[in-house]
């Protein structure tokens, strides 16, 4: 175990994560909480699920490591899963709860590739399904992690650009509240954009 200060984070579904302070501080939100004196107790993140928090920690750990110029073969967040006695906690996937540090089952493919370029790593990181992308952008906005926000915003924009209006509505779960006449009027204003 390193002698670096560790910060404890709790996701909305009760999972506990212990991360190095430098990694936690990639999030400006958490950084301010630490500065306000909350760094010694568990920091609750009620807006972020364990699954997404895990990914975010993976991202922050990687970027901190890159900045510190530490060469790591793979990035593995340390996870401490405790038996939390709350009604809302769903059963954890990991069986041995009493172990100090446990690896959550992850998609092994995520660790196999070792791109030398951080941009390539980012591209692979954000190559996920749409709903995960959305969860990531909402969480990174809440946690105020600019690099991840920019990465996910760009990924979503790239995904959107060749979609039709109907496909966009479906992806973003939006109801069309225009009447057919209103919609036709808007389309005709800039018909060249629909070619």
């Amino acid at each position: 175990m390193s002698s670096k200060k560790m910060i404890t984070l709790k996701s909305s579904d009760g999972r506990i994560f212990e991360v190095e302070e430098a990694v936690a501080q990639e999030s400006q939100t958490i950084k301010h909480m630490i500065e306000d004196g909350y760094g010694n107790s568990v920091i609750p993140l009620p807006n972020v699920t364990g699954r997404i928090l895990y990914k975010i920690i993976e991202f922050c750990t990687k970027h901190v490591a890159v900045e510190e110029d530490i060469k790591q073969k793979s990035v593995e967040p340390t996870v401490v899963v405790e038996d939390v006695k709350q009604k809302s906690v769903e059963p954890t996937v990991v069986e041995d709860v009493k172990q100090k540090s446990v690896e959550l089952p992850v998609d092994d493919d995520a660790w196999d590739a070792e791109p030398s370029d951080i941009d390539e790593w980012d591209a692979q990181f954000i190559d996920v399904d749409e709903s995960t992308m959305f969860e990531l952008i909402v969480a990174s906005n809440y946690l105020n992690i600019k690099r991840l926000m920019d990465l996910s915003a760009q990924a979503i924009a790239d995904m959107m650009k060749d979609k039709t209006v109907e496909e966009i509505r479906k992806i973003f779960n939006i109801q069309n509240d225009f009447t057919p006449e209103e919609e036709m009027k808007i389309r005709n204003e800039n018909s060249w954009a629909y070619e």
Binding site: N141, A157, V165, R169, F172, I174
Partner: protein, 361 residues
């Protein structure tokens, strides 16, 4: 899946092209409102400028052609697309040099252009920071036989949709001495006046007309390395550039750094990335390039930076383009033949704000 809050949606949408955004306006009423909002439009422009995207190359003859630079790859040949659907109301109108700013294109009726041997008419469009407005400056310089040259200046404000005459600068701009665009919020030109100094017959003033305050300012001169016969102003990146044509047939190029600051001065630039600091307390001229060999009576001006910032594209007589390498301080071959009908521009939705304002009267 819950819907994304507007705060996040904005950050995604501002990365899309104008074409996508116009299409997505009809997704829903709230998307329509968001995309049409002036705040969002400015956010989109800022994003485009910062990430150097949404750039188009416009070509004008009597028709308007456009190439979307973002969709080009290295080996592509430029395929200009003719634009029919831009709402140009008057087909007689053509585009003039200095015709674009933030995606707004300024066209003028050639019949009224008055361009001839005795008259030079110049239009420049720019963004007025002080009043959050777009302005068009029209200057006509004309020869009166037996009298000399005179000039007239008028300014148009998009917000008020009207022309007015600002106060005139006491000295007439030199013939064809205007910068190609409005830079640092001002239109620049050179005025040659009788010198009050005993060792010079005349001197050239570098004049800046601020389109916001509509006031004039005479800029300080750089350190010249010898007697010159001609000065030209232009813009490079977001800075004012000055090309000084010496009598020894060489040209120095200067950039004004920290425009508007206390110690405004021209000095030597080595690193192109130092440029974006005007309004600071150390406004100064930087010598960007020196000793460019130019046959006499030819005009060299700066045109653009390369993407990496290490090369500057120079235009010779508005006819030929040549790359100048800042590191090795040399001109590169080949020379590209061009004409002044090209302009780079950022494509934006900016017109939408002002179109609505003007329409509302």
């Amino acid at each position: 899946m819950a819907q994304l809050p507007n705060e996040i949606l904005e950050k995604i949408l501002c990365r899309l092209s104008v074409k996508c955004l116009l299409r997505f306006r009809c997704v829903s009423k709230s998307w329509f409102a968001l995309i049409s909002d002036p705040y969002f439009i400015k956010l989109h422009l800022k994003q485009s400028v910062q990430t150097n995207t949404n750039n188009s190359l416009f070509q004008r003859n009597f028709d308007l052609f456009r190439v979307a630079l973002d969709s080009l790859h290295d080996d592509d040949v430029l395929q200009p697309m003719k634009i029919d659907s831009i709402p140009l109301r008057f087909r007689n109108y053509g585009l003039r040099s200095g015709f674009s700013c933030d995606g707004l294109l300024c066209t003028s009726n050639f019949i009224n252009a008055l361009d001839s041997l005795c008259t030079s008419c110049v239009y420049r469009i720019g963004y007025d920071n002080t009043n959050d407005d777009y302005k068009v400056v029209r200057i006509v310089v004309y020869l009166i036989l037996g009298f000399g040259i005179e000039y007239e200046i008028k300014v148009y404000s998009l917000r008020s949709n009207s022309w007015h005459r600002p106060e005139k600068f006491p000295h007439c701009p030199n013939w064809k001495s205007f910068g190609n665009s409005i830079v640092c919020g001002s239109l620049h030109w050179i005025s040659t006046v009788k010198s009050e100094k005993s060792d010079l017959k005349e001197e050239s003033l570098i004049v800046a007309f601020d389109i916001g305050t509509e006031k004039y300012r005479v800029l300080p001169q750089p350190q010249y390395r010898g007697p010159y016969y001609k000065l030209y102003v232009d813009d490079l990146g977001e800075c004012l550039s000055l090309s000084c044509h010496y009598k020894s047939s060489t040209v120095d190029m200067f950039l004004l750094k920290e425009y508007g600051g206390k110690n405004e001065h021209w000095s030597r630039l080595i690193n192109a990335t130092l440029l974006k600091e005007y309004g600071g307390t150390n406004e100064s001229w930087l010598r960007l390039a020196q000793n460019i060999p130019v046959p006499s009576n030819h005009v060299v001006k700066s045109a653009a930076y390369s993407n990496c910032g290490k090369n500057v594209l120079l235009s010779m007589d508005d006819d030929n383009l040549v790359w100048y390498d800042l590191d090795s301080e040399s001109l590169e071959d080949p020379r590209i033949h061009a004409d002044e009908n090209y302009s780079f521009e950022v494509e934006t939705l900016a017109w939408k704000i002002y179109y609505d304002v003007a329409e509302a009267g």
